[in-house]
């Protein structure tokens, strides 16, 4: 009997390690290709992980794949993948089936990466913004309008989501405490206090050191993604819907009144003047912050007697940074330079900081339970049991490092008149020099994506 229990524990441990490793390996492979500007290879990695029948099971890969399709110029393919991502968001918004509950249960017992990736609020906003761009590139301005409306609505949803989330976090932590205490009384569980642990000075010190970079940045107000707002405003301006554009660009102008492009666009919208013969370069620069695992020993308060040091794994944000400071654009008649409109790292940090209390609370509760279990198993099955439990605890401890890594570090924009020869050159002042020939159109957006300096840039032209 004892042998069977130990074998089951070992098998669970092995499964655990292999499952996590496959996911992490795929993400590593995707990042390695994407960072080098090998979009086709990155797309291959994403394509192999996408689950066409049940998109919600591979949401992260729909996001990554949607981006690589966009950068490869397959706008319809990108829309398909992003549509599936939206279907997955809906699934997780509405679903409370057993399948989901089992996975969430596993996440609660093992680690967060066992829960399905359900997407961040900024993921949802960016999906609709990118879909808007794709539809516009396909010349389907009606559906582009729908997507930009959705992106704006997603911003509103995010505000409400976070207001709810703050309340929910407090309730959840209290719930975990009361459950732990109940289990302590009837002797079936780990007697510990999540709230006491989180509130203790020693724990706070450890956290302050780990997340010091989160205290130094300034969060965006109301979880706004300035790119989504600006891009929607620009689209409505280019569609000639200056009334609507004015209302939206007013928000962008309010956030960044010194940005010359926002100021010019807003002035056009306010005057009811649809631009003509103008070009915008939208530059997605570098690679966004990514989640990496950070392990440390923290003190956990066991309510009964002791203070125990346990090893925990938290996700921390690691900066990958911008590719270049900015791009310069030259035409036969003008020169211009891209200026940041949205610090995507800041958008991600704002949301991460908000989620962190819950992530930490879950991990502390989980580790306390595992420590208690280890103690019980050792008491029941002797040293061998204790050792196996210790191995199990070590391997099952992992931070959830999944995130949409194809997003940029920041997004910049430039505006200038189209020259008579309709040519322009985009350069970074170094080796990068991309000649662009604009087709016949009233206005144009040139979308440039550069993950790192010295790697191939992806360029697409959107006519208006």
């Amino acid at each position: 009997m004892k042998d069977t229990v130990l074998r089951v524990l070992l098998a669970a441990g092995a499964l655990l390690v292999s499952g996590c490793a496959t996911n992490r390996e795929a993400l590593r492979a995707f990042n390695a290709s994407f960072e080098q500007g090998r979009y086709e290879a990155a797309d291959d990695v994403a394509g192999h992980r996408i689950n066409k029948k049940n998109p919600h099971k591979a949401l992260l890969w729909n996001l990554q794949g949607g981006t690589t399709r966009l950068l490869l110029g397959d706008f319809a393919g990108s829309v398909t993948l992003y549509d599936q991502a939206e279907a997955a968001f809906k699934f997780y918004d509405l679903d409370s089936t057993a399948e989901n509950a089992v996975q969430l249960g596993a996440a609660l017992a093992l680690n967060d990466s066992f829960a399905p990736y359900q997407g961040e609020e900024y993921d949802r906003i960016m999906v609709n913004s990118y879909k808007g761009l794709c539809f516009a590139a396909l010349g389907d301005y009606e559906n582009a309008r729908v997507e930009f409306n959705r992106a704006l609505q997603r911003q509103e949803e995010a505000k409400h989501h976070f207001a709810r989330q703050i309340k929910k976090t407090k309730t959840e932590l209290a719930k975990q405490d009361s459950l732990a205490n109940r289990q302590a009384v009837d002797g079936t569980g780990a007697p510990f206090s999540v709230t006491d642990t989180l509130e203790s000075d020693s724990f706070k010190d450890a956290m302050r050191e780990t997340y010091s970079n989160l205290d130094t940045f300034q969060a965006y107000p109301d979880f706004i993604n300035p790119f989504a707002t600006y891009l929607a405003g620009l689209f409505f301006l280019l569609e000639g819907d200056t009334g609507k554009a004015s209302g939206i660009l007013k928000e962008s102008f309010g956030m960044d009144p010194d940005h010359p492009v926002v100021r010019a666009d807003f002035a056009d919208a306010e005057a009811g003047r649809a631009p003509k013969g103008q070009c915008w370069v939208i530059f997605e620069n570098g690679l966004c912050v990514e989640r990496v695992e950070f392990r440390l020993d923290i003190p956990i308060f066991l309510v009964t007697r002791e203070l125990k040091m346990v090893n925990v794994a938290f996700p921390v944000l690691s900066t990958r940074g911008r590719a270049v400071d900015s791009l310069s654009i030259s035409t036969a008649t003008e020169t211009a330079r891209t200026i940041a409109i949205c610090d995507m790292d800041r958008v991600i940090r704002t949301e991460f900081k908000k989620d962190l209390t819950m992530i930490i609370g879950r991990e502390v509760a989980r580790q306390a339970a595992k420590t208690y279990l280890q103690y019980m198993v050792q008491r029941e099955y002797g040293d061998l049991g204790g050792i196996i439990m210790a191995v199990f605890q070590t391997f099952s401890t992992a931070a959830d490092t999944r995130s949409w890594t194809a997003l940029p570090s920041d997004i910049q924009v430039a505006r200038f008149p189209i020259s008579p020869d309709r040519r322009l050159t985009v350069s970074d002042g170094g080796r990068l020099s991309i000649p662009v020939q604009l087709p016949a159109c009233d206005n144009a957006i040139v979308h440039v994506r550069l993950p790192q300096v010295g790697v191939p840039a992806a360029v697409s032209i959107i006519k208006f």
Binding site: F89, D93, L94, R145, R150, Q153, R154, E156, D241
Partner: protein
């Protein structure tokens, strides 16, 4: 005997179970559809909006031509300013049909936005270059009729967080008829369709 009865009961249960699970398609009773509403827009919303707007246009009397003839109307642009991927031609088809049935309006396929035009109008005229067609059967020059009026509009969506659990979605169907000779607006109407439902997810 007992085994047989057990087998029969199990079989019946299995059949009942399977038939209950199978999703058999059924026709919708369009006159009395008791299917639950959706937060997006479905055919019932289009039907309601179209018929309310046409009734308003006809009741206003502005489509009655003083000399008793019929106005020639072109379909203008209907902007979908919602968060739903809908085909505005679907709404317009219903409106055009009811306007034409009123006997006060004739729609033109020679000019218009979106799918309102019929390419054949111009392709048939291209045949003039061909010797293969009997010249007497070709469309004569200068016979296309310019429209008197244009119908255009917009569908707007607003999502309101009604309370903690409820989302309110408002759809504004705006339609207007413009006299193309004078640029004056003959008629306009806004029809509101509102819905309340779960706040768990977005309305699309």
């Amino acid at each position: 005997m007992r085994q047989n009865r057990l087998f029969a009961t199990c079989s019946t249960l299995a059949v009942l179970l399977l038939s209950g699970c199978a999703h058999v398609p059924e026709n919708i009773d369009l006159q009395n559809d008791r299917g639950h509403a959706v937060m997006g827009l479905d055919y019932r919303d289009f039907d309601l909006a179209a018929s309310q707007m046409v009734q308003s246009a006809l009741a206003s009397g502005t489509l009655k031509k003083p000399d008793g003839g019929r106005y020639v109307m072109a379909t203008g642009k209907v902007v979908n300013d919602t968060m739903q991927r809908i085909d505005t031609d679907q709404l317009m088809a219903k409106i055009e049909e009811e306007l034409m049935n009123s006997g006060q309006v004739v729609m033109t396929s020679a000019i218009g936005a979106g799918d309102a035009t019929d390419d054949m109008v111009y392709e048939a005229r291209e045949l003039r270059k061909s010797d293969e067609f009997d010249a007497g059967t070709l469309a004569p020059k200068g016979r296309l009729v310019a429209p008197d009026l244009s119908v255009s509009g917009k569908i707007i969506q607003r999502d309101v967080f009604y309370d903690k659990r409820t989302r309110q979605v408002e759809y504004y169907f705006q339609l207007r008829i413009t006299n193309l000779r004078t640029g004056l607006r003959f008629w306009q109407k806004e029809t509101l369709i509102g819905k309340r439902g779960s706040n768990k997810s977005v309305s699309w």
